[in-house]
Amino acid sequence: MARYKVFVFAEVSNSEMGSAEYHPWLNRFAVFTAGVTLVLIGVGGVVTSKGVGLAVPDWPTTYGYNMFLFPFSKMVGGVFYEHSHRLVASTVGLLTAVLAGWIAWKDRRPWMRKLGWIAFLAVVLQGVLGGLRVVWLKDEIGIVHACLAQGFFVLVGAIGLFTTRWWSRFSLRKHPIAGCHALRRLALGTTILIFIQLILGASMRHQHTGLSINDFPLAYGRLIPPMDAVSLARINLERIQWMDLPATTAFQIALQFVHRIAAFLILAGVVWSARRICKTNGLNPVLRGLSVIWVGLVAAQIVLGASTIWTNKAADIATAHVVVGSLTLLAGSLLSIILVCCVASREGNPAWALGIQNSEAEIQKMGMAG
């Protein structure tokens, strides 16, 4: 039944709408919302980097004030970051509501409307999670809050992609993507690895125990960090008495070590993907551009990760590491979306191929080839 509806819509969009689906201001607004979301991730990152998430103990109020009436003069110390985070978050919530409404009003693709409402629900859930993290004093919620933020950013970024002129006019027949099955596997696999890497990162950051391995590229002067009880006791004595850091655990040390290993797997995945894309689809400016940007981002991300360790987790560097991490995930996600839609279109799966107007599958199904 659902599939039937999709077919009807595809017919309409192809025969009547065509490139008319492109709404430049909707696209600009979606990209703007994604941009403000990135700023929000940055401010949220500062809150965690500086460990001031609980500087405002109440929610949704701020020290008993309505959050929009909280006086600027009281935004001192940690309150400044946490309260700013709430204000920017409210802005993103509002922008997302407008975006979802705008899509419902102008965009005739039903799956796009669904995406708009999912984004709205996600931003509401995200706000509530942020509030519960404060009220329930649970670091674990902070981890979920951080990961949902990344997912939401990718979702709004994808809406940005789906509303571009390029997407609305993209024709696989005119600009075929070569070897998209293999490319999809590589790009999607790497992107999933990046998301797992972000979860690891969030888990490390929300322990608030500082660095558990404080040298790089080596770990406590070795290739594999020591995790036995005796070494751990020695490390913790050092941390508490001389480094102003709380005790760490073998689990935390292992987590940070895995994060380092995963970083190099991701680097390999991204470089390999980009190489393959440039070899097989070097003339496709979007694919080539995205993959080159992806390589640049992942390289910057590794430098920032190393700098986070070398500066003993300086708040600005650690926050930049979070923001560039989001962008790396977004670049991988957009590439993967294009490749997934390409494969779906090749395989004649209209539910996915619908993402791309005039895709091969549609053209064949509709008998409009030529």
Binding site: A55, K74, V76, W242
Partner: protein
Amino acid sequence: MKKTGIWIATGALLVTSGMAFAQGSISGKAILQGAAPAEKAIKMDADPYCAKTHATGVTTKHYIVGPGGGLANVFVYVKDGLAGKTFPVPKEAKLLDQQNCLYVPYVMGIQVGQLLQIQNDDSTLHNVHCMAKNNPEFNLGQPVKGMKSEKVFTKPEVMVQFKCDVHPWMFAYVGVLDHPFYAVTKEDGSFTITGLPPGEYTLEAWHHKGGTLTQKIKVEAGEAKAPDFIFKPKT
């Protein structure tokens, strides 16, 4: 009439002195061996009010060392030897104050069930974030000068850390015990724990930077002298 009065007075004296003799006390000293590590300057510019109250600058005060190396702010308490005994909960409350953007006192003790009053004496806002592990964690906002909150701990816990997330330099440490036999060393490093029933005890001394030290001590009626607790900074 006069005679009766004298008799009563003598009787009272005997009873009180007898009570005093049935109980013991421990006194001793915490010592820092060697030079104290340098303290770090605290930057308070994030809150203009705090910066103004410390116009001449302020540093951490991890090591307050008196003459002869006496180390202040060491929490000394009876860790073992009181099992099975219960002690009345003091009626008077203990005060944890926030003055000039610092917790006062920095180290204190309290009994399970005893009222803890937490007060803001500053014209700025603080959040009182109790990082207890055995007791429930809590986080209170005190946006206005003179605000007072009251809390009670339900389980022993040494030490409970308090912090303020608005002012990341603000910390306090509270030792929660189910008995009244604890003390915090004074500026000269000395402490006295009074009113102890005679017995054998394990005494522990905790210092925020120096870690913990323990010793066994036998208390009889009268004053027992504990050997010095000697903390050693890394050389």
